[in-house]
């Protein structure tokens, strides 16, 4: 293995495989609005009750700051990713261990997307369909796309985002059933409850970490911040929308018990031709999760290549095999919820809090470097 071998901090990326900054909007908006969005109103409501919308605004604002900090960190370097930064800051060994933890977390995140979606398909459309079957079908597409490299992954994110965003429009129907009484009394939650509510949104905001991976591949880095921030704003808006409608429709206890309140909202939509809109939504949701799975798989393969110089193909097959085994065997609803909960907890610290800790360290490091240069 190549454990001891030192790693280049900066990455050289050929112009041919770079992407335009503008795609960051689609990447961020897509990767965040995955399976988390289907259940997030419940988790926020559990903490902040009828003032959940305040929590979401707080969370959104905080994420904007985190993204700003992430760009500050990345801009301090020439052309690097999280692995390069960690090795630069903590040295070869610690940096690589941290990088491995990061990749493990991304794998966990990928796993939750898969098992959560399979569960939804089984609950809403095909209760008897084999889990292996769905897993294999999904993984075939993912493998095919990841083998195409980052540009394919980004392209899929771009197209599928446009092909699935229309689902939001159909929320107008449950919106008409909103009972505004459910939002009263206003501002009853204590600051602590509001913050806990904001923390509960974190699983939906995860995916942000892709910035740390994809940054070296961005062509026009100076313009990268704006599309990313708009992507975050979009996510905040969608979470706000679905939570608002969920609270308005369900109110208290029912919302706390609903596992996928957003899908139940879609179940309310009925047309003469399509009586069960939720089935269309669940099928369509595949277009939402496929790009996420592709992007996350790419992140893992890229990360392993960066750290250990193992070819991306090899890693991909290992990842796919692991996913296949997990996707086919994990079937207990409680187990799935526990895994999601763990990933959400760990993700909160790794993705949202970690950059804020990293930033001062980067600043100190850069300053000492400058001083050293000044001395010599």
């Amino acid at each position: 293995m190549t454990w001891g071998i030192s790693m280049d901090i900066n990455v050289a990326v050929k112009p041919g495989i770079r992407i335009r900054a503008f795609y960051l909007f689609f990447i961020i908006a897509n990767i965040q609005n995955g399976t988390g969005i289907m259940g997030v109103p419940r988790y926020i409501y559990k903490e902040a009750k009828q003032d959940s919308w305040v929590s979401i605004l707080i969370a959104g604002l905080f994420i904007h700051i985190v993204v700003f900090v992430m760009f500050q960190i990345l801009n301090k370097y020439e052309n690097t990713d999280i692995f390069g930064i960690q090795v630069d800051l903590f040295g070869n060994w610690v940096g690589k261990i941290l990088g491995t933890i990061f990749i493990t977390y991304v794998f966990g995140s990928l796993l939750t997307v898969l098992i959560n979606y399979i569960q939804v398909v089984q609950v809403f459309i095909f209760p008897t369909l084999s889990r292996w079957m769905i897993t294999i079908l999904l993984l075939l597409i993912v493998t095919y796309a990841v083998l195409g490299g980052l540009r394919v992954a980004v392209g899929v994110a771009f197209i599928f985002f446009i092909l699935s965003i229309w689902l939001v429009i159909f929320l107008y129907k449950p919106m008409t059933l909103t009972d505004f009484g459910h939002f009263k009394p206003l501002l009853e939650a204590s600051p602590k409850e509001l913050l806990l509510g904001a923390k509960a949104t974190s699983y939906s905001f995860l995916g942000l970490e892709i910035l740390f991976f994809i940054y070296p591949f961005i062509d026009n880095k100076k313009k990268a911040q704006l599309p990313t921030q708009i992507g975050i704003a979009t996510t905040t808006f969608i979470i706000l929308l679905v939570t608002g409608i969920s609270i308005g429709f369900f109110g208290g206890d029912t919302l706390e018990q609903a596992i996928w309140p957003v899908l139940i909202l879609y179940k309310l939509i009925e047309y003469t031709l399509i009586e069960r809109f939720d089935i269309i939504v669940v099928s369509q949701w595949m277009m939402v999760i496929i790009p996420i799975m592709i992007l996350l798989s790419w992140m893992i393969t890229y990360g392993v290549k960066r750290l250990y110089k193992i070819s991306q193909k090899k890693t991909l097959f290992v990842v796919i095999l692991l996913l296949l085994i997990c996707g086919g065997t994990i079937k207990n609803q409680y187990t799935i919820e526990t895994i999601i909960d763990y990933v959400a907890q760990i993700g909160f610290w790794i993705v949202i809090i970690y950059p804020l800790i990293l930033y001062p360290l980067v600043l100190i490091k850069k300053k000492t470097n400058k001083n050293k240069e000044g001395e010599s």
């Binding site: 095909f126 079957m133 009263k184 009394p185 009853e188 029912t254 609903a258 009925e270 009586e275």
Partner: protein, 373 residues
């Protein structure tokens, strides 16, 4: 071409992975009725539609005994040669005796099971559910019952009362559900009253007239026709010719295109004083006597009499609701929304509710009175 062929093959073969449901083999349940048996078991009556071309009667009936709704379908499967499916269930009828013990346990599956539909009506039968669903008719009974409720709801005669509404009001503290009550008249199911629930327990009913009053307080009318009876005496001088010789005391007025708006405010949180403002705009369509409406005075008098009457009726209705201790209008919810940091409990509100003090202010405005004076 090299890629297209395998993809086509795969797509075709994949169909085999999913359960197929042939429509000829399905019995599609459209209505469900539940009655209480002596030993706490439930007697279920299921109406289902089948598409077998060889059988003349498309609507079939099957009965079963069980403890739950899904169990009922399961048990009924043993009595039919079709596979019973529930996706098109549109109506659940509950017998009076069962409804008196609570019905929510037979409805939870519509939250829990994603496969179950959520657009359905929940009604109470005045006798038993079996009586309603076994009415011998030449028409499609499930469809008849569904449209009976659906159309009357669209005509603004019935208040909001589907499953979603039931679930919503059942879940919220400080408001109780209201659902249609089916009575059998001349071997035909009709809606004569509305069933009042305390949580999910059937406790009493409202007449059609009270339903109108209830809707006045709860919802906005857009265009509805309503008959109102007012005393004749104040209009004696304006009556040209006595046409109604049958009733010497009262004047019957028909208001049409009635529009209304309401606002319920909690005036005093401590003493639980509520104010209900109701504004009615309507056209005068028909009077049982020939009252000459020459100037505004007559109209004003009429408006005054009508609001007085409605006011009185509203108070009577509220007294009835208070006596039954059902908060169908949702005063408790308003109390809960207006008071911070005091989580209202079910029990506490049941104690407080009979003590509330409600003032009704009805403002009637007659816009037009036809093309004759």
């Amino acid at each position: 071409m090299k890629i297209v062929l395998p993809i086509l093959c795969m797509a075709t073969l994949l169909i085999g992975c999913v359960d197929t449901k042939q429509i000829e083999q399905l019995g599609i349940i459209t209505s469900y009725g539940a009655d209480l048996l002596e030993d706490d078991l439930i007697n279920n009556t299921l109406l289902y539609t089948q598409f077998d071309p060889d059988i003349k009667e498309p609507i079939q009936l099957v009965e079963s005994k069980s403890n739950s709704y899904e169990g009922a379908v399961d048990a009924a499967n043993l009595k039919t040669n079709y596979k019973l499916v529930t996706g098109q269930l549109r109506l659940k009828v509950f017998g009076k005796e069962l409804a008196k013990q609570g019905i929510v346990r037979l409805l939870t599956t519509h939250y829990r099971d994603a496969e179950e539909p959520s657009r359905l009506y929940v009604v109470v039968s005045d006798t038993t559910a079996k009586d309603v669903l076994t009415i011998n008719t030449s028409f499609n009974l499930s469809k008849f019952l569904y449209n009976l409720i659906d159309n009357n709801r669209k005509l603004e005669i019935l208040p909001k009362s589907d499953f979603k509404d039931f679930a919503h009001k059942y879940a919220d503290i400080g408001i109780d559900p209201i659902q249609p009550l089916i009575t059998i008249e001349k071997k035909k199911p009709i809606i004569e009253r509305l069933a009042l629930f305390q949580n999910d327990v059937f406790v009493g009913s409202l007449t059609t007239e009270e339903t109108f009053l209830f809707k006045l307080v709860m919802e906005n009318f857009k265009a509805v026709t309503q008959e109102i009876t007012i005393p004749k005496q104040p209009f004696e001088e304006f009556i040209k010719k006595h046409e109604d010789k049958r009733d010497a005391e009262n004047l019957h007025v028909i208001l049409s295109e009635l529009r209304s708006g309401q606002k319920i405010t909690l005036e005093d949180t401590k003493n639980l004083k509520y104010n209900v403002d109701i504004k009615i705009d309507a056209n005068l369509l028909e009077i049982s006597e020939q009252v000459v409406i020459e100037d505004e005075k007559v109209l004003n008098k009429m408006e005054e009499q009508i609001s007085k009457k409605i006011n009185k009726k509203l108070e009577e209705m509220l007294d009835k609701l208070k006596e039954l201790n059902v908060d169908t209008i949702g005063f408790g919810r308003i109390y809960n929304q207006e008071t911070k940091h005091k989580e209202l409990t079910e029990q506490k509100w049941r104690e407080l509710y009979p003590t509330i003090d409600v003032t009704f202010n009805v403002d009637v405005n007659i816009l037009r009175h036809g093309v004759f004076d």
